[in-house]
Amino acid sequence: MEFYWENTVFAILAFALLYFLLNKYAFGPLFSVMEKRREMVQEQISSAESNRKEAERLLAEQQKAMAEVRKEAQEILEQARQMSGKEADEMIRQAQEESARIKEEALKDISAEKDKAVAALRGQVSAMAVMIASKIIEKQVDEKSQEQLIDQYLKEVGGKL
């Protein structure tokens, strides 16, 4: 087999052209697609990471808000409890005052009635005394009979009272 340098030159040219064509039309696009995929995967990883962080942040926020709400509810409950206790005290106090007032009024009424009764009695007693005196004068009785009479009248009066 002879050696032809023209073959060598031809092979070099063919290889150079093949390299150029493949690089431009086959491998170039393939590399760029692979690069794009790599970038896509990277992007997805980083976005997943940021999503996770965001979720964690939101969760923490939610928990904080939840705790605050719980605390607030507790406070409201406490307040309500205090308020209701005060109210009950107030009601009791009012009731006591009311009852005291009623009692006082009743006492006043009673004493007024008593005064009335005593006044009425006094009137009657004086009227009776006048009657007794007039009877004594009428009958002109002795001392004994006087006493008897007085007792009798007093008894009468007492019986009437």
């Binding site: 023209e6 073959n7 060598t8 390299y19 491998f27 697609v33």
Partner: protein, 258 residues
């Protein structure tokens, strides 16, 4: 030993068979690569795209085994072209060989394709005329493998001078200035060994195939085994050529800090 159809034109000798199979290899390589990278998709790659991406990663693996990934990326395209072209070239001659016998010199349109000389040579070897081999592996021709090796040789020294000038020039004097001739010899031997290794493997494979064919029907099982093995050799040689190219490039361009 078969002869080549040589077209003499304007003082040049064009070996039609070698040029022909080189063109065929060129076309097959380009069409395969082009078809494989049709309908590229980022999110939903086809099976062919997956295969090509596997090849890319394979070649990238070869390149990164001898240099950092950042620098290796620039040579992946070169490595892919080399490995595909050489592999296809290596197995091109396996399925068949086309041989024609010419008792008379052949002229087409006034141009000599088979010369009187070639016919005489064939008759001297005991044939009826010139035995012309039309179809073979382009890499079974040393002139083609030398062409590839020269491409690599040129690349190594160009990249070495461009990217790593100081250390590239210094390495000829290492470890001492007296080693200069040895270093020169080493550099010269690189493309020669590349070319001869590839050529010899493929050429020997084809010689063995044509020898087995002489055994006729009895040779068929052996032929099948040898052709299968030749595919393996073709793949190994393509791989080796690519690996050595990457190693040479990294030797010339990468300066490691000591």
């Amino acid at each position: 030993m078969h002869q080549a159809p040589v077209l003499e034109l304007g003082g040049f000798n064009f070996d039609l068979s070698t040029i022909g199979v080189t063109v065929v290899t060129f076309l097959i390589t380009f069409i395969v690569a082009k078809v494989m990278t049709r309908n590229l998709s980022v999110e939903n790659p086809s099976k062919m795209q997956n295969f090509m991406e596997w090849v890319v990663e394979f070649v990238q693996g070869i390149a990164t085994s001898s240099m950092p990934l950042k620098k290796a990326k620039a040579y992946v395209s070169l490595g892919m072209t080399l490995i595909m072209f050489i592999f296809i070239a290596n197995i091109l001659g396996l399925p068949f060989a086309v041989i024609t016998e010419h008792p008379e010199p052949v002229k087409v349109a006034g141009l000599t394709i088979v010369s009187e000389e070639a016919v005489q040579k064939g008759i001297e070897k005991g044939h009826h005329g010139a035995e012309i081999l039309w179809w073979k592996s382009p890499t079974a021709d040393i002139s083609v493998t030398l062409g590839l090796a020269l491409v690599v040789f040129f690349l190594i020294h160009f990249l070495g001078l461009k990217l790593n000038t100081k250390h590239y020039l210094k390495h000829y004097m290492e470890p001492y200035a007296i080693f200069f001739p040895l270093n020169i010899l080493k550099e010269v031997m690189k493309p020669i060994t590349l070319a001869i290794r590839l050529y010899a493997n493929i050429f020997a494979g084809e010689i063995l195939i044509s020898t087995i064919i002489m055994a006729g029907v009895f040779g068929i099982p052996l032929l099948a085994v040898w052709q299968g093995f030749s595919i393996f050799i073709g793949a190994i040689q393509a791989f080796l050529f690519t690996v050595l190219t990457m190693v040479y490039i990294s030797q010339a361009t990468i300066h490691e800090e000591h």
